[in-house]
C-alpha cells in the first residue's frame, strides 16, 4: 500500500486543468469584479511608477472617476458616448447572434454620417427641417445598410468570408469620406467646416440636450432590437441560424434571406449612429468620426456573451473605463495617446483571461493542495464567517 502511494506521487503532474461545472451567475460576476480590481491595481501601479509627476493611488482613482463624472459637461459627454457605443453594440448583436461577423461597424457608421452630411450640405435650409431630418435618417440608414448587405449577399451566394469583407469595406468608406471632403473643399486641409443649417434637434440646451437626444434614440432602438431578438418569430429564426444552419434549413427557414435582412438591420442601426454623429453632434464628417466604435462594439458584445440584458451594463463600464483612462492620461502627464491604449488593453486582458477561470479549475497535486489548504482554509473560513454573519443580520 505504502509503495503504491509513493509511486503515484511520482507520476502525478504538478498541476492539472480540470473543466468546471457551470458557475452560477452570481459567482461569475464576482470573478469579473475581482479581475477588474486586479486589472486596475496593476495598471495604476504601472501608471504611478512611470509617471513623471508625484501621484499616488488615490489620484489615479480620483482621475478615473472625474474623467466620467468630473463636471457637468463631462457627465453629458459620458452619457452621449455611452449611448453611441450602446447603439453600435446593439446594432451588431443580431448579426453576431447568427454568427455573421460584421466587423464593418466603423465603415457603416461613416457611410451613415457621410450621407447625412450630404443631405445637410445640399438641402439644408432648402426644405422644412422635419422633412430634412426624415430624409437624413432614411437615406443614411439605408446607405449604411447597403454597406452591410453587400458582404451578406456575397456570403450567402458565393460563400465568401464576411469578416474580411466587412473589414475591408471600412477602408473604402474612409476613402469615400476623404474623397467627399476634397471634392467639396479641393484646396482645404482635408478637414470639413461645420454645416450651420439642417442639424437635428436636441432635447435641451447644449451638451445635455445632445446627450439626451442620443440617449433617447438609442434607447428606443435598443428596446426594439431586444424585443425583436427575444420575443419575435424572426428573432427565434436568427437564434436557430446562429446555433445551427443545418437545423435552420431542416425546418425550412430561408437562411439566405434572413441573413441578408439581419445584415440590413445591423447596417441601418450603425447608420443611425452615424446620423447622430454628423447631424446632431458634429455637423460635419471626418474619417475618424467613428472613433473605432465599430470595434469597441464588438468587444461589448463578446464580453456580454451576446446576452441582450448584459449589453447596456458592459457598454456602460467600457465607456467609464475609456473616459477615466483618458483623464488619467492627461493628469499624469503622458504625452502619447498610446499609453491610453496600453492601459485599456491591460484591463481588457485581465477581464478576458478571467473567462478561462470561470470555465476551468486549476488543481494542484493532491499533497500540495493539502499544504495549501492549511493556508487557505483559515482565510476562506474567515470570509465565510463574515458572509454568514451578514446573512443573519439580513434575516433579522
Amino acid at each position: 500500500m505504502n509503495t503504491k502511494t509513493e509511486t503515484k506521487k511520482a507520476h502525478n503532474p504538478f498541476v492539472r486543468i480540470v473543466k468546471r461545472e457551470r458557475l452560477p451567475f452570481r459567482v461569475r460576476i464576482w470573478f469579473y469584479v475581482i479581475a477588474i480590481f486586479f486589472g486596475l491595481l496593476v495598471t495604476s501601479t504601472l501608471v504611478i511608477l512611470s509617471s513623471s509627476k508625484d501621484k499616488n493611488y488615490m489620484d489615479f482613482f480620483a482621475a478615473m472617476f472625474s474623467g466620467a463624472f468630473g463636471s457637468e459637461r463631462r457627465f453629458w459627454i459620458f452619457v452621449q458616448d455611452f449611448s453611441l457605443l450602446l447603439g453600435v453594440s446593439i446594432a451588431l448583436l443580431p448579426v453576431f447572434k447568427m454568427r455573421f461577423w460584421n466587423l464593418g461597424g466603423n465603415g457603416q457608421i461613416l457611410i451613415g454620417a457621410m450621407v447625412a452630411t450630404i443631405v445637410m450640405f445640399y438641402w439644408g435650409g432648402k426644405m422644412p427641417d422635419p422633412v430634412l431630418w426624415i430624409l437624413m435618417f432614411i437615406l443614411a440608414s439605408n446607405a449604411a445598410a447597403v454597406w452591410a448587405v453587400i458582404p451578406a449577399i456575397f456570403r450567402v451566394f458565393f460563400k465568401t468570408n464576411e469578416s474580411l469583407f466587412t473589414l475591408m469595406l471600412n477602408y473604402i468608406a474612409m476613402v469615400l469620406v476623404k474623397f467627399l471632403i476634397s471634392f467639396w473643399y479641393p484646396t482645404g486641409s482635408g478637414a470639413m467646416k461645420t454645416i450651420e443649417v439642417g442639424g437635428l434637434p436636441s432635447l435641451g440646451e447644449g451638451k445635455m440636450g445632445i446627450a439626451l437626444m442620443c440617449f433617447t434614440v438609442v434607447t428606443i432602438i435598443t428596446v426594439a432590437v431586444i424585443i425583436h431578438l427575444v420575443y419575435s418569430k424572426r428573432g427565434y429564426e436568427i437564434a436557430v441560424i446562429g446555433e445551427s444552419e443545418k437545423t435552420a434549413k431542416y425546418i425550412g427557414i430561408n437562411v439566405k434571406w434572413r441573413t441578408i435582412l439581419t445584415a440590413f438591420m445591423s447596417g441601418a442601426i450603425c447608420g443611425v449612429v452615424g446620423v447622430l454623429l454628423s447631424g446632431l453632434i458634429n455637423h460635419t464628417v471626418s474619417t475618424t468620426m467613428d472613433a473605432n466604435m465599430g470595434f469597441t462594439g464588438i468587444m461589448v458584445d463578446w464580453l456580454s456573451r451576446f446576452d441582450p440584458s448584459a449589453i447596456a451594463p458592459v457598454a456602460f463600464l467600457i465607456t467609464l473605463l475609456n473616459k477615466g483612462i483618458g483623464q488619467v492620461n492627461t493628469e499624469f502627464g503622458f504625452a502619447s495617446q498610446a499609453t491610453n491604449s496600453v492601459i485599456t488593453g491591460l484591463i481588457y486582458f485581465f477581464v478576458i483571461s478571467v473567462t478561462f477561470y470561470t470555465r476551468y479549475k486549476v488543481r494542484f497535486r493532491s499533497d500540495i493542495e493539502e499544504k495549501m489548504k492549511k493556508v487557505t482554509t483559515p482565510i476562506t473560513n474567515f470570509f465565510k464567517r463574515i458572509f454568514s454573519r451578514k446573512k443573519k443580520e439580513e434575516v433579522k
Binding site: K233, Y250, I251
Partner: protein
C-alpha cells in the same frame, strides 16, 4: 484453470470530466493470449478507459501495470513504447498516402526505405491472413481495408496488446467474419486483444472472456463459455430486459409515398443515388439497409426537401383525398404548407434535428413556431406539448428549460422523435434512430415506431444493425453504392443474404468500381480526395 500470465492490469482507475465520472475506480486484468470483450452501453466509459491505456487521456487517479510493472502512459508514443496499439472507431489515416506510408508514419528511428517496409507489411499481412496491397493509397480503400491498415500499423510497431474500438460497426457480416479469423490468429500468436463492442452475439462469437462496464463502474467479468445473451444484457443494463420486438402483420396498406427513378448527384458531381424507385405503404415499416454512405442520407433528405435532385420524382399520396402531391423542388416549409404530413428524424440529431444549446421547449417549438399570424412567438402551447412529451417518453431531465445538449444521447433522441411524432405524421422517416442509445431507449424507440405503424403511418427506418432490421421491418430495401439492389421481405430474408446485397452491384461491368466509390465517399472529411475518382 492454470495460472495465466497477466499482460495488462488496471488498478483503480478514475477519470472525471467536470461533474461526470467517466470511470470510477476501475480495476481489471488482461491475460496473455486472450481475447477480452469490453461490453457496456454507450456512455458506460469503455472508450474513455481504453483511451487512457493508449495515452490519449491521463487518469485522474489510479495506475496501469504492464507485465507486472507499473508504467506511465502520457501520450500515444508512450503507449507504443509499451507495445500497446489501439485501433480507433474513426480511422486516423492520411488519405493520399499509401498503406505502407501510413504504417510507418511517426515511427522514429527507422530509415525510410519504402521497399523494405512494403516487404515487412506483406510479411505481417500473410502471417495473420490479411489481404492488403502496401502500395495502395488510402483513398482507394474500402472501410475494411482501412481498418486492416490500422491493425497492421499497430502490429508493425510490435504491439502485444491490441485494442479495437467497435471494429465491426462499419463492416458487413462477411467482413466481420474475416476480421474475427484474423483476430483469432493474433491470439494464437500470443497477443492480447481487447474488443470494445455492444453487439452481444459478436461478443459470444469471438471472445474468451467478457468484462462489463456500467455507468463507469466495473461490474465484473464472465468466461464467454458460461455466458449467454440474457445474462450479459442483465449485467450491462442492471436489470432484466425483454429483448423482443413485437411485429404485427401490416393492415390495410395503401401507397403513401412513391419514389420513381430518383437520381442524385452531390455538389462535386458524384452520383449518390442512382435510379432508385420504391414505394412506402401505410401501416408498414420499410427498412433501408446498406453500408454507411451508400446513399441513405441523400435519399431521405431528397424526400424531405433538403437535397436537390435532377432526375426522378417523389410523390406523396394524401390519405384523405388520394391526391398526388409532387414534392420535387420544394423546401421543408413548402412541403408542410402543402399539407403533407411528413416527419423526419435525421441522423445528425444535435446538428440537424435539434439545436443543442436551446432548451427543450425551444426545440419543440422548431416545428410549430410559424403557427399563427402574430409576429411574436407563442411559447405557451409548445411548453405544454414539451411537458407532455417529457412525461410520455419518460425523458430524464431536471426541467424543460435546460439545453438539450446536456441530456444523454437517449433522451436527446426521445425529444427529437417525440417532437416529430407529435406532429402526427402520415409518413415518418427515421435515420439510425437508435444509434448510440442504450438498450432500454432503443426498445422504446422500436415500440414508438410500431405504434406509428399501427396508426397507419408509413414508416421508413434506416438502420445499421441487420438483426434489428430483420426483426422490426416488414420489407427491407437494400442500397449499395446508391443503387437499389433489392427490396426483400424481412420475414424470410437471412442476414448473410442482406450482406450480399449490400455489396452487390446491379451492373456487372462495374463490379469493382462501385465498391471503391462507396468507400471513398465514406470519408466525408476529405472531400478533396474525391476528385481522384474517375467515372
Amino acid at each position: 484453470m492454470p495460472e495465466r500470465e497477466v499482460s495488462l492490469e488496471l488498478v483503480s482507475i478514475t477519470k472525471r470530466f467536470g461533474q461526470v465520472v467517466a470511470n470510477n475506480k476501475v480495476s481489471m486484468k488482461l491475460y496473455k493470449g486472450e481475447i477480452l470483450s469490453l461490453l457496456g452501453e454507450n456512455g458506460s466509459g469503455k472508450t474513455t478507459l481504453m483511451n487512457m491505456i493508449s495515452g490519449i487521456y491521463f487518469p485522474d487517479e489510479g495506475h496501469i501495470k504492464i507485465d507486472g510493472q507499473e508504467v506511465v502512459i502520457r501520450s500515444p508514443l508512450d503507449a507504443f513504447k509499451h507495445k500497446i496499439g489501439m485501433i480507433h472507431q474513426h480511422f486516423k489515416l492520411i488519405d493520399v498516402f499509401t498503406a505502407a506510408q501510413n504504417i510507418i508514419l511517426g515511427n522514429k528511428g527507422e530509415k525510410y526505405q519504402i521497399k523494405k517496409i512494403n516487404e515487412k507489411v506483406r510479411e505481417i499481412a500473410s502471417r495473420y491472413g490479411f489481404d492488403i496491397d502496401p502500395k495502395k493509397k488510402v483513398f482507394d480503400m474500402s472501410v475494411s481495408e482501412k481498418q486492416t491498415v490500422e491493425i497492421i500499423k499497430a502490429l508493425y510497431r510490435g504491439a502485444n496488446i491490441l485494442i479495437l474500438d467497435e471494429p465491426t460497426a462499419v463492416l458487413t457480416p462477411q467482413e466481420t467474419e474475416k476480421l474475427f479469423s484474423v483476430i483469432r490468429k493474433m491470439k494464437a500468436d500470443g497477443k492480447s486483444i481487447i474488443i470494445i463492442t455492444h453487439k452481444l452475439n459478436e461478443v459470444l462469437a469471438i471472445s474468451d472472456r467478457v468484462a462489463i462496464l456500467r455507468k463507469g463502474e466495473y461490474i465484473g467479468d464472465v468466461e464467454t463459455k458460461n455466458a449467454d445473451i440474457p445474462l450479459l444484457t442483465e449485467m450491462m443494463v442492471g436489470e432484466k430486459v425483454e429483448l423482443n420486438i413485437h411485429r404485427e402483420e401490416p393492415k390495410k396498406t395503401k401507397e403513401r409515398l412513391r419514389v420513381t427513378h430518383l437520381s442524385i448527384k452531390d455538389i462535386n458531381g458524384i452520383q449518390k443515388i442512382k435510379d432508385v424507385s420504391f414505394s412506402a405503404y401505410s401501416g408498414e415499416i420499410l427498412g433501408i439497409a446498406g453500408i454507411a454512405g451508400a446513399g441513405q442520407k441523400e435519399l431521405l433528405e431528397a424526400i424531405a426537401g433538403l437535397q436537390h435532385y435532377e432526375k426522378g420524382s417523389v410523390i406523396y399520396i394524401d390519405p384523405k383525398t388520394e391526391k398526388e402531391e409532387n414534392l420535387k423542388e420544394k423546401n421543408p416549409r413548402q412541403i408542410r404548407e402543402m399539407g403533407v404530413r411528413l416527419s423526419f428524424v435525421p441522423e445528425d440529431r444535435l446538428g440537424m434535428g435539434l439545436v443543442g444549446n436551446m432548451n427543450l421547449v425551444d426545440n419543440v417549438l422548431l416545428r410549430s413556431y410559424e403557427k399563427g399570424r402574430s409576429p411574436f412567438l407563442d411559447k405557451h402551447n409548445p411548453k405544454e406539448l414539451t411537458n407532455k412529451i417529457v412525461e410520455e417518453l419518460q425523458i430524464a431531465t431536471e426541467s424543460v428549460n435546460v439545453p438539450v445538449r446536456t441530456l444523454s444521447g437517449g433522451n436527446v433522441q426521445k425529444v427529437l422523435v417525440g417532437r416529430e411524432i407529435a406532429a402526427s405524421p402520415k409518413l415518418l422517416m427515421t435515420a439510425y434512430p437508435v444509434r448510440g442509445l442504450d438498450i432500454n431507449s432503443s426498445y422504446l424507440i422500436y415500440d414508438l415506431l410500431n405504434k406509428q405503424k399501427e396508426k397507419g403511418t408509413a414508416v421508413i427506418f434506416v438502420g445499421e444493425d441487420l438483426d434489428v432490421l430483420i426483426a422490426l421491418c416488414d420489407r427491407i430495401m437494400v442500397l449499395s453504392s446508391g443503387e437499389c439492389t433489392g427490396i426483400v421481405d424481412a420475414r424470410s430474408i437471412k442476414k448473410e443474404e442482406l450482406g450480399m446485397l449490400m455489396v452487390k452491384s446491379n451492373d456487372d461491368l462495374k463490379n469493382t468500381a462501385p465498391h471503391v466509390l462507396v468507400d471513398g465517399l465514406l470519408n466525408q472529411n476529405n472531400e478533396e480526395t474525391e476528385a481522384g475518382y474517375e467515372y
